[in-house]
């Protein structure tokens, strides 16, 4: 499954790299199995030990496993994080030894630019995943229509600004797309998901999965039937002014051209992505304000924590369900509406972002809002590293979904609750905590 291939065009001594990977895997597996057994036999909490053991084995080999074994009951998050980072550094070092002429080893500017762009796109991914995790934390349903909301967001912006009202301000287009997506989400929730809450259905989780899957299928082919299969693209919304800081310098720290932003004369960020990331951060702040400072937001969080208690306190959980589903769909649509200026758009465009959001919410912990955001940035960085470092560029691009899947597989193997998930890991099912 691993995308790298032995004897690729430019890898010189792949044996080093694969040797290190093999060594780390063997000790990681041993560490996780041994430590889990030890913790289990001593009746200790085993929820973190898999991950810690694997990281200790991977990072420091037998020494790490032995140290953790010796100081058994003491396991702190800091040690685990440190070990995990060491393991990542080790992989990077092995890669740079194995392939010293690779662009992402030899070229510092390329590395910086990959990192920045990974971070920027990661923010957008994280924002989109936030919608999914919001829906999950309140309804207990993983929305399989998330990618389709993303798709209609972009499509609506195209139709509003290009087809229906040519020349209209793109901001209005984005807002219109968000409103429509919000309405579709609310309508769908009212029409399809309400039977889940009343206990009429034996297995609400499965029903939710099927219902949202049906919505995804319908939406995708509805758009394809109306629009056809031709790709569309929208002009970028805002041009940067021509600006330099400090002005007139030989190599300015920040330099903007209409479609581009250059940092330190090396890192180039394209305008649409930058605008999208900034908007995402702004909307995220607004969302945090909504969740923590307004009555509605507090009610939402209350419902996600304890449904019955919230109902006793006078909050109508049904309305919160509708609001959460509509908001989640709107967030995905907004992500799509912002990215339609960067990528070309098709009715099938939602599949990969949806999958990426699934990876992110599992990595961050199902139902955890900060987890989704941090998970998004991590996945953005992993994808940037993958596309930048794999020797065969064409293959590196076709394997974009695979990087996320590797992350997902590792998460499920080592720490199924994700980075921040505890309460929701076993699945709150829409009713009860």
């Amino acid at each position: 499954m691993h995308p790298k291939r032995n004897g690729g065009p430019s890898v010189q001594t792949p044996e080093i790299f694969w040797g290190v990977i093999l060594w780390m895997t063997v000790w990681g597996v041993l560490g996780s199995v041994l430590l889990r057994r030890r913790y289990f036999s001593r009746d200790l909490d085993t929820s973190n030990v898999n991950f810690a053991g694997a990281m200790a084995g991977a990072a420091l080999g037998p020494i790490g496993v032995a140290v953790l074994w010796a100081r058994t009951p003491k396991l702190s998050g800091r040690i685990t994080t440190f070990l995990g980072l060491t393991a990542v550094v080790l992989i990077a070092a092995a890669f740079s030894f194995a392939d010293p002429e690779n662009n992402c080893v030899a070229n510092g500017a390329f590395r910086a630019s990959q990192f920045t762009n990974g971070l920027i796109i990661g923010i957008i991914y994280g924002f989109m995943a936030l919608g999914l995790t919001l829906i999950f934390s309140i309804l207990g349903v993983v929305s399989f229509a998330h990618g389709e909301f993303y798709m209609i967001g972009g499509m609506l912006v195209y139709y509003i600004t290009v087809v229906w009202f040519p020349g209209v301000n793109p901001l209005l287009g984005v807002m219109g797309a968000c409103c429509l997506a919000f309405c579709i989400g609310a309508l769908f929730e009212r029409a399809m998901l309400t039977p889940m809450y009343t206990g009429k259905i034996d297995r609400p989780v499965e029903y939710g999965i099927l219902a949202t899957f049906g919505l995804a299928f319908t939406l995708q082919y509805f758009v394809q039937a109306l629009h056809g299969a031709s790709p569309v693209k929208v002009q970028r919304y805002i041009d940067f002014p021509r600006w330099e800081f400090p002005a007139g310098a030989e190599s300015p720290l920040i330099e903007t051209r209409r479609g581009n932003l250059t940092l330190f004369d090396t890192v180039s960020i394209s305008n649409p992505r930058f605008i999208a990331a900034v908007t995402c951060i702004l909307v995220l702040l607004a969302l945090l304000y909504l969740l923590h400072r307004t009555w509605t937001g507090k009610a939402l969080r209350a419902v996600s924590q304890d449904r019955e208690a919230a109902a006793i306190a006078g909050i109508d959980p049904n309305r919160m369900n509708m609001l959460a589903f509509a908001l989640g769909g709107m967030i995905a649509a907004l992500a799509g509406a912002l990215l339609v200026q960067a990528f070309s758009w098709l009715p099938q465009v939602g599949a990969i972002p949806a999958m990426r959001s699934f990876v992110i919410v599992v990595l961050g912990g199902l139902g955890s809002l900060p987890g989704a955001f941090i998970g998004g940035i991590l996945v953005g960085l992993v994808e940037a590293a993958g596309t930048g470092c794999i020797p065969d560029a064409q293959k590196a691009a076709s394997y974009i979904p695979a990087y996320g899947m590797i992350v997902l597989t590792l998460t499920l193997l080592l720490r199924p609750t994700g980075l921040f998930g505890r309460r929701f890991a076993s699945g709150a099912h829409g009713q009860g905590g």
Partner: protein
């Protein structure tokens, strides 16, 4: 009266058995093709409904396992040959006096090589050395095993977790399988696809009748037999103690675990069996259409299987299979585009919208599907009267 479903089932089987022999209408090959594809989807839908309806495990990767089966047999038949003499240029091993030759992967865009090593060797030999393909049946079996093995590994990874994780992971898994097949052009030939030998290479001679390679009757009966075999296995599974365990863990996994059912193990077993069925269907279908491409793994196919199972009745695999055949026929009937008032309605896409809406409506208002309640209804005819009669008899005996 309660026997009506059984009688209807037998009649239906007899109908499908006799159909290709008595059908004399137009488009014979096309009608047969629609039915063969219908049987193919019926296998997928019924095994998926065993997984989703009986065990409560929602997998969106059923098509990926089907693809593993199809590509398993395709790669096997494409790369492995047996020859009488060593080629000297391929990877080869001695094999009971002959040679097992593994062709080199040249892909479709190779500029240095226009022929694989076996073809070069054959050109050198002329007609002096015999070359055999691998038997199709062996390929199908290997594809099935590969699909089952992949199912086992995925199941071991994900099935210890709750339902949502399986759905999430399998959706990603099918994307990955598609990405690998599309990207590894050297081996899988990417979008160009791999060409497979037909199910019955030299045609078939049965009961004095000669069937050619393109005749539809042999693949029709093969696929139908596979469908019946799968349904038989599923019926046997669901009636056994094993089926009861599986249903128990669907209703309440915690309670089942508390009663001593090793829930993860049973889920993994069900998952492996159903994925192997999907792989078998894929392998046979691949030999029937004689080409495999990554397009068979589009999410659309998975959505169709889900729609078929749900519309038929997700908790009853016979209903799911019937739903699949029914929907496949409907899909073909709705293919013709038409125009209303000058607006061209492209039915190839609108029919999918129609099925999406139908799927949601069925989910919302008829949760057991459209066919399953019908079967249940007939199965229950007379049960109530029987129970009342029994109770009366008991009361009379007591008084």
């Amino acid at each position: 009266m309660a026997r009506i479903p059984h009688i209807a089932g037998l009649l239906l089987i007899a109908f499908f058995l006799a159909f290709p022999l008595v059908y004399t209408g137009a488009n014979y090959d096309y009608v047969m093709h629609v039915l063969i594809t219908g049987f193919f989807y019926a296998i997928l839908a019924s095994s998926w409904s065993m997984l989703a309806g009986y065990a409560g495990q929602f997998s969106f990767g059923h098509m990926a396992f089907m693809g593993i089966g199809a590509y398993g047999t395709a790669l096997f038949c494409h790369y492995f040959y047996i020859t009488e003499a060593p080629t000297g240029i391929c990877t080869e091993f001695g094999f009971f006096g002959n040679w097992l030759v593994i062709k080199n992967a040249i892909g479709v865009t190779s500029t240095t090589l226009t022929q694989d090593c076996l073809q070069q060797a054959i050109d050198g030999w002329g007609d002096t050395v015999r070359v055999w393909r691998m038997p199709v049946l062996l390929g199908i079996i290997l594809g099935t095993l590969a699909g089952g093995l992949a199912g086992l590994l995925v199941g071991l990874l994900v099935l210890r977790l709750r339902a949502a994780y399986l759905a999430l992971f399998t959706l990603g898994f099918s994307e990955i399988i598609k990405a690998i097949i599309s990207a590894e052009i050297d081996i899988t030939r990417g979008q160009a696809g791999l060409v497979l030998p037909p199910l019955y290479g030299e045609g078939l001679n049965l009961f004095g009748l000669q069937f050619g390679q393109t005749d539809k009757i042999p693949p029709y009966y093969t696929m139908f037999a596979l469908l019946l075999a799968c349904l038989a296995i599923l019926t046997w599974l669901s009636r056994s103690r094993f089926g009861l365990f599986v249903r128990a863990l669907r209703e309440d996994a915690d309670a089942a675990a508390a009663l001593g059912v090793n829930t993860t193990r049973y889920k993994v077993i069900v998952f492996t069996i159903t994925t192997a069925m999907a792989a078998a269907a894929g392998a046979v279908q691949a030999h029937y259409v004689q080409i495999v491409t990554p397009n068979m793994l589009f999410l659309l196919q998975m959505s169709l299987v889900v729609a078929m199972a749900v519309i038929g009745g997700v908790e009853n695999f016979v209903a799911a299979a019937l739903g699949a055949i029914f929907l496949q026929i409907m899909l073909e009937l709705l293919r013709t585009s038409f125009s209303i008032g000058g607006i061209e309605v492209d039915m190839t896409v609108w029919r999918l919208v129609f099925f999406g809406v139908l799927l949601m409506l069925v989910l919302r208002f008829a949760r057991n599907g459209l066919l399953a309640p019908l079967i249940d209804r007939f199965a229950r005819i007379g049960v109530a009267e029987e129970t009342i009669a029994k109770r009366k008899a008991r009361q009379e005996a007591q008084s």
